[in-house]
């Protein structure tokens, strides 16, 4: 993968100038490459990784990983039914996977009840959905390459040759 993408995947706010410095390229060239990635849909969007556990307000969030078993449709396979499912705003991720079930969803809701209702009222009754298994997420350790832990103190001695 292009180093520009590697850098942005780690830090979407890295400036064009900084990327140019890191790769010894002209800022204009980096800018052009990024614009092309954006235009081609290779870079889809930039967003923040938020550690919700540290948010003090009452506003919490519950997440669940949901395994979904489907009956594939003739000529359409899983795509059509997947679209029906992932179009719900509650579904933040949707993957077709190999193994004992077909779709893996990550569903978000403001509390347990909301997620449970989504599963019971929207997901399970849907045509072609044979069964679901819901795993509520208890603790996040790492997400998209980011460890959700406060930075550790520096262990180096403060001055050395």
């Amino acid at each position: 993968m292009d180093e520009i993408l590697e850098i942005l995947e780690k830090d979407g706010r890295m400036s064009i100038e900084d990327i140019a410095k890191m790769l010894r390229k002209k800022p204009a060239d980096v800018k052009k490459a990024i614009s092309k990635y954006e235009k081609d849909g290779i870079i889809l969007k930039y967003k923040a990784v938020i550690n919700r556990e540290l948010i003090k307000e009452n506003e919490t969030e519950v997440r669940a990983l949901i395994e979904v078993n489907l009956t594939p449709q003739k000529d359409l396979g899983f795509d059509k039914i997947a679209e029906r499912i992932y179009s719900f705003p509650e579904v933040s991720s949707c993957y077709l996977v190999s193994g004992t079930y077909d779709l893996l969803l990550i569903v978000r809701g403001k509390d347990l009840h909301t997620v449970a209702r989504f599963v019971a009222e929207k997901l399970s009754p849907m045509d072609h959905v044979k069964g679901v298994v819901t795993h509520f997420l208890l603790k996040k350790y790492k997400e998209d390459g980011v460890v959700l832990k406060q930075k550790e103190e520096n262990k180096r001695i403060a001055i050395s040759y």
Partner: protein, 388 residues
């Protein structure tokens, strides 16, 4: 007790800035740009390999020369990366960092009175190690040549008693390095005088503007070069203490003789971790290098903005600016900057007594810390370092 100490050690110059170091160590909440090691922690898979080896019970000595597997991996790595071939049985020795490699080399080659060339400014231990081995350090003054060894200043320093040179690049403390063409010119002089070339290339992986060229890859140089390198800087493995010496088998054999009596072998845990570093650590090296590059620009641009004259570094993670503008010596600058702004740098005299007006800044610190330190240096200079 004093008369119990050996004369040689008694005569060694104590580092004039030890007291300054103690001052830094005794102070809290200091942003330190005075650290000679990466701020990154060793990549996890390398640490994990060390941990696993302990669980598996690898707690014994290894062969004096080092684990065969590590030497073989190094052989393969050097061959594929640089086209450099050393026999793992006879031409390689695993050392406790490059430091031990330098010490062994000095002790293996020096007869009383032999002179060893050391470019100045340079890493602090080359001189004392030469003296401990009974040799005489001859410093090559690079002040007027942009901190670089040139054929002219090199030729001037050589006489009949000169046995060899310790040649470090990229350089601690200046960060300068050499392109192939420059190395070729230096090589010509060194080969002409039949000197042993001991290269310390521990920062080789951190070369930013061009490809690092190991000295023994220059045609005709390998037979006269002892190539020293290690895992400390590139892989962020300073505390593991693993280095390696590659060179003519007679020299390696002589060094191994000393090593087997004094050190026995490098810690097996560290050697196993080093194998993993070669196996899977290159990507991490590249990532860290990229980040250093970005910091180099930040620091150099900052120094230019502050009007602090410096030679642009091409590798390692150091800059060696002049603080003449402040009206202070490097030592007073460092001391005041520490006391007033809580930013630590190393006074230039640590790396050569003629560098009174210089300081060494290490950019092996987070981008945010570097930015903040530059701001504090700006305040410091405005408040009138210059009236001091």
């Amino acid at each position: 007790m004093k008369n119990l100490i050996s004369k040689k050690v008694e005569e060694m110059q104590p580092s004039g800035i030890r007291a300054f170091f103690d001052l830094v160590l005794g102070m809290k909440d200091v942003i330190s740009l005075g650290v000679g090691e990466p701020d990154f922690v060793t990549p996890w898979q390398i640490r994990e390999a060390g941990i696993y080896s302990l669980e598996e019970g690898f707690t014994s000595y290894t062969s004096n020369k080092g684990l065969y597997k590590l030497r073989l991996s190094l052989h393969n790595f050097l061959k594929s990366k640089y086209g450099l071939e050393y026999c793992p049985e006879e031409e390689m020795l695993i050392t406790v960092g490059v430091s031990e490699g330098v010490d062994l080399a000095m002790r293996a080659i020096i007869n009383p009175g032999d002179k060893i060339l050391i470019p100045s400014p340079g890493y602090v231990s080359y001189g004392p190690m030469t003296e401990l081995a009974g040799g005489t350090p001859v410093y090559i003054d690079t002040k007027e040549t942009g901190f670089k060894v040139t054929p002219a200043n090199l030729e001037k320093s050589i006489d009949k008693k000169t046995k060899g040179i310790i040649f470090n690049y990229p350089v601690n403390p200046t960060g300068i390095s050499y392109k192939k063409k420059e190395l070729e010119e230096i090589k010509k002089i060194l080969l002409k005088h039949k000197l042993l070339i001991i290269t310390d290339e521990v920062y080789g992986d951190l070369t930013y503007d061009f490809e690092h060229v190991p000295f023994p890859t220059l045609s005709g140089a390998k037979e006269q070069t002892l190539y020293l390198n290690g895992f400390s800087k590139g892989y962020a493995m300073t505390g593991w203490r693993v280095g390696y010496a590659c060179g003519p088998k007679e020299i390696i054999a002589a060094m191994t003789k000393i090593h087997q009596y004094t050190i026995m072998c490098v810690s097996i845990t560290s050697q196993i971790a080093a194998c993993e570093a070669l196996h899977s650590g290159r990507k991490s090296v590249e990532e860290m290098k990229r980040e250093y590059k970005r910091r180099r620009e930040l620091v150099c641009d900052g120094l230019t903005r502050l009007g602090l004259d410096h030679v642009r570094p091409q590798g390692a993670f150091y800059v060696f600016p002049s603080v003449k503008k402040s009206g202070l010596t490097g030592f007073d600058f460092a001391k005041k900057l520490l006391e007033e702004q809580k930013v630590a740098v190393v006074p230039g005299t640590a790396f050569g007594k003629e560098f009174q007006d210089r300081i060494r800044i290490s950019y092996a610190s987070s981008y945010e810390d570097l930015k903040e330190s530059l701001n504090r240096m700006e305040i410091f200079l405005k408040r009138g370092g210059s009236c001091g």
